[in-house]
Amino acid sequence: MSGAGFVLDLHRCVGCGACVLACRIENGRIETAAWRRVLPLNLRRHQAGPTYFLSVACHHCEEPACLKGCPSGAYEKRPDGVVVHHEERCLGCRYCEMTCPFATPTYDEAKGVMSKCHLCAHRVDAGRLPACVAACPTEALQYAASPEAQAGGATAFVPGFADPAGCRPVVRFLAPAGARRAELFRSLEEALKR
């Protein structure tokens, strides 16, 4: 059991960004950089590959590089899997920005500290879904107490997302469907695996 994380259905995600805004509102990220990002793949619709969107925030890794790289112990991996950043212990050295292969922690200029997604632990602890998940208009973004146990062919690797540093990110993806896109996806996946 690796703990809690996100599951993203790449067929249902339309890259609308409602998750990004819901996170901003919930976590008071008003004037600062957003914790969640939407990364479009192939908006130009090159015929060699599919078009889809990766909505990503912190992956709450099993081996968090942010935690390992932090000289002040500002990161904690909770028993439920959530990787929490403790602002009061943060030096603002920005090492975690370098050690995280996904560049997830963002630097807050005004406060001089880092910050990142905490899986809306305050909501989850109260039995609610993370704000981004609750807002997703197409129900593409989901929360799972154990994403790796997700049924329905969820996968850790999709083109455009990989884990070069071996952090074992706790996020899973459901492959895009639709006749043409599914075929393009499979061929791109094969090509990248080779």
């Binding site: 067929h11 960004g17 805004l21 919930e26 008003i30 078009t51 043409r180």
Partner: protein
């Protein structure tokens, strides 16, 4: 929408209403962006007055602003008559109270208003002529469709709530097919995609019908019992053999045939049409041709099937009590505001009052409209932000947002009427439009009894008689007051002239001068027109998920997640013009010229180029410098997508 405020009146959450089955309790990007919008740094909070011609603005009191506006309006009326004033309203921030502006203008002696609509009217009229009313099945029944045909419709970008239901249907085994000249987020997820030439949808619809009827796959029983004019329609189909349809639409005959057989062979099949395929001069006849396919195949009045264009079930409020319309009033087509500002006589337009809209960039021939507005003696714009239209005003009055005045809000997809609570006081010196009109009436000494003493009681009185619900019910949840039920036309009663679905419509012919049976004629600026020799590319200016037209694009939150604003062009068309990915292109025709970056994409049909509309901030290219002031064959719509251009490296 459920909004939570903290003790300092700051928005701390915006969530969907779980009682609304159409949205599944989820809010789109634009709804969420109100958390930023209402307190955004460049929100207009006080009235502004232009310092001098061509100069900037200075703050001014309401007293001074309304006083000067009133004096100038009186002067214009005395010199030229009341119709020298144009009152232009868009549909932004809409609600029932918007209509109170007329309490002023009618007492003023009248004014010039606009008629028609820039968005959807031809499709509305085509649907009315065909089925008798603009009703469709409840959105929740979408999941029962076995085949969902999206025609010129891109809900993955323009109706994410509908898209959720379509994806649910697809997950349960429904086939999703899209007809669109462009690859979009919807076509990516689809099981089949056809890319016709823009403006040839009527030919495609009649061609599909021909295949269906030839194969004997139409629902003869439904046609016999519930339709009118099938014989004449069948004669029309004789003009549309597969070879001709393929050559008109640019789609392979086998593809057309396969779609026809699949659509007619799957029940229930749901056909959802977008607004885009009615944005040209043959819009009404096109929409009639498409709208008839569900009737031909017996997909009407059943769950999971049907024709979906717009649902006006919630448009059931009683009309506002207003003074009588004065004889001096007149009206101009909304798609031709620039033309009429330039040419209207007896009297010419000398003043314009514009609210809830941004015509200086959003109307056809917007560059000419800007020029014409700049020449007026008085322009008053009411808006939340300094839009390109507001930038041309003599007075800019700060407008409320949807959180700052109670109202009743209608819909055009789901059947619900909704109560909009006032949850925030208007910030700064902002006044709701209804208060502005009341203040102006007071200044003129007019009767102000038309305005609500108390908005809640006023709105309560607008609810339809005998609907069985009260305003308190409406405050609890969205309500369908229409009594139409979840399945449109379940009783097979159609409020048309014949009482049946009309393949042939004498009313269409009498009212609009079109052939009683839907037909297909080439566009003035289309795939077949001689003008293509000079301007060979068809320009589409479509919508995506992060705008409602020009709204929301000023917000940093939206800018950070928006799509790039580029010219989409096919590699063949780009190569022929020496244009490469990332270079800048000039796009022009006889009406105007714009420049913007290029995205070379095989996803668009050759011969077609595309620019997203609604981008009008920070130097965005204005696509409506290129569009024409045409009028649709029915119901006074605009023809944004009938627009030929040429492109070259800038």
């Amino acid at each position: 929408m459920l909004v939570t405020l903290d003790e300092g009146n700051r928005i701390v959450s915006i969530e969907g209403d779980p009682e609304n089955p159409a949205t599944g309790g989820r809010v789109c990007l634009k709804g969420l962006s109100y958390a930023r919008r209402v307190t955004y740094s460049d929100r207009l909070l006080r009235p502004l007055r232009r310092k001098a011609p061509g100069a900037g603005f200075e703050p001014v009191s309401w007293e001074a602003a309304l006083g000067e506006i009133a004096e100038r309006l009186k002067g214009l009326r005395d010199a030229h008559g009341p119709a020298a004033a144009l009152y232009y309203e868009g549909s932004g921030s809409h609600g029932a109270l918007g209509g109170l502006s007329m309490a002023f203008w009618r007492q003023f002696g009248g004014c010039t208003t606009t008629f028609g609509d820039l968005c959807w009217p031809a499709g509305l009229e085509a649907t009315r002529l065909t089925y008798g009313a603009n009703l469709h099945n409840h959105p929740k029944l979408t999941v029962q469709g076995r085949l969902i045909l999206l025609w010129g419709h891109n809900p993955a970008e323009t109706n994410v709530h509908q898209w959720r239901l379509i994806l649910d249907a697809q997950a349960q085994g429904a086939r999703v097919i899209v007809i669109d000249p462009r690859q979009t987020d919807s076509t990516d997820a689809a099981d089949r995609h056809l890319q016709p030439r823009p403006g040839t949808d009527a030919a495609l619809a009649l061609g599909l019908a021909r295949v269906i009827v030839d194969a004997g796959l139409h629902d003869a029983q439904f046609v016999e019992a519930h339709t009118h004019g099938f014989g004449e329609y069948r004669q029309r189909l004789a003009e549309f053999p597969l070879g001709r349809v393929a050559s008109l639409t640019g789609i392979e005959p086998e593809e057309i045939r396969a779609l026809a057989l699949e659509y007619a062979g799957t029940k229930p099949a749901l056909l959802i049409a977008g607004f885009g395929l009615q944005r040209h001069s043959r819009a009404g006849q096109t929409m009639r041709a498409v709208a008839l396919l569900p009737a031909l195949t017996g997909n009407v009045g059943i769950p999971g099937g049907g024709w979906q264009y717009a649902n006006l079930a919630s448009h059931c409020l009683r009309p506002l009590a207003l003074p009588p319309e004065p004889a001096a009033s007149r009206s101009i087509p909304v798609s031709q505001v620039a033309l009429h500002l330039e040419t209207l006589d007896a009297p010419p337009i000398r003043a314009a009052w514009i609210e809830r809209g941004n015509p200086a960039v959003q109307n056809p021939a917007a560059h000419r409209l800007r020029g014409a507005l700049a020449r007026l003696d008085l322009v008053v714009v009411v808006d939340q932000f300094m839009t390109p239209t507001a930038g041309l005003a003599h007075f800019v009055l700060p407008a409320k947002t949807l959180f700052e005045e109670e109202d009743l809000v209608t819909a055009y997809w789901h059947p619900y009427l909704q109560w909009r609570a006032r949850i925030l006081p208007p910030p700064g010196e902002v006044r709701p439009e209804s208060d502005i009109w009341r203040a102006l009436c007071e200044r003129f000494g007019y009767d102000t009894s038309y305005f609500p003493a108390d908005r809640e009681s006023y709105l309560r009185a607008l609810l339809p008689d005998a609907c069985g619900f009260t305003l308190d019910d409406l405050k609890e949840r969205p309500l369908d007051l229409s009594g139409n039920g979840d399945v449109a036309f379940a009783d097979r009663r159609f409020p048309t002239v014949s009482g049946k679905v009309e393949f042939a419509s004498g009313e269409a012919s009498a009212t609009w001068g079109v052939d009683p049976v839907p037909d297909c004629a080439p566009l003035g600026e289309g795939a077949e027109s001689p003008a293509r020799r000079r301007f060979p590319l068809q320009l589409l200016s479509c919508k995506t998920r992060d705008r409602i037209h020009s709204q929301f694009g000023n917000l940093d939150w939206v800018r950070a997640v928006e799509r790039p604003h580029v010219l989409d062009i096919h590699p063949d068309d780009a190569r022929a013009r020496g244009i490469e990915e990332g270079s800048r292109a000039a796009v022009w025709n006889e009406r105007g010229r714009i420049e913007l970056p290029v995205r070379v994409t095989p996803g668009i049909r050759p011969g077609v180029v595309h620019v997203l509309e609604g981008w009008c901030h920070e130097g965005d290219a204005d696509v409506n410098a290129l569009t024409a002031e045409g009028i649709t064959d029915m119901n006074h719509g605009a023809t944004f997508y009938e627009c030929l251009v040429e492109v070259a490296r800038a």
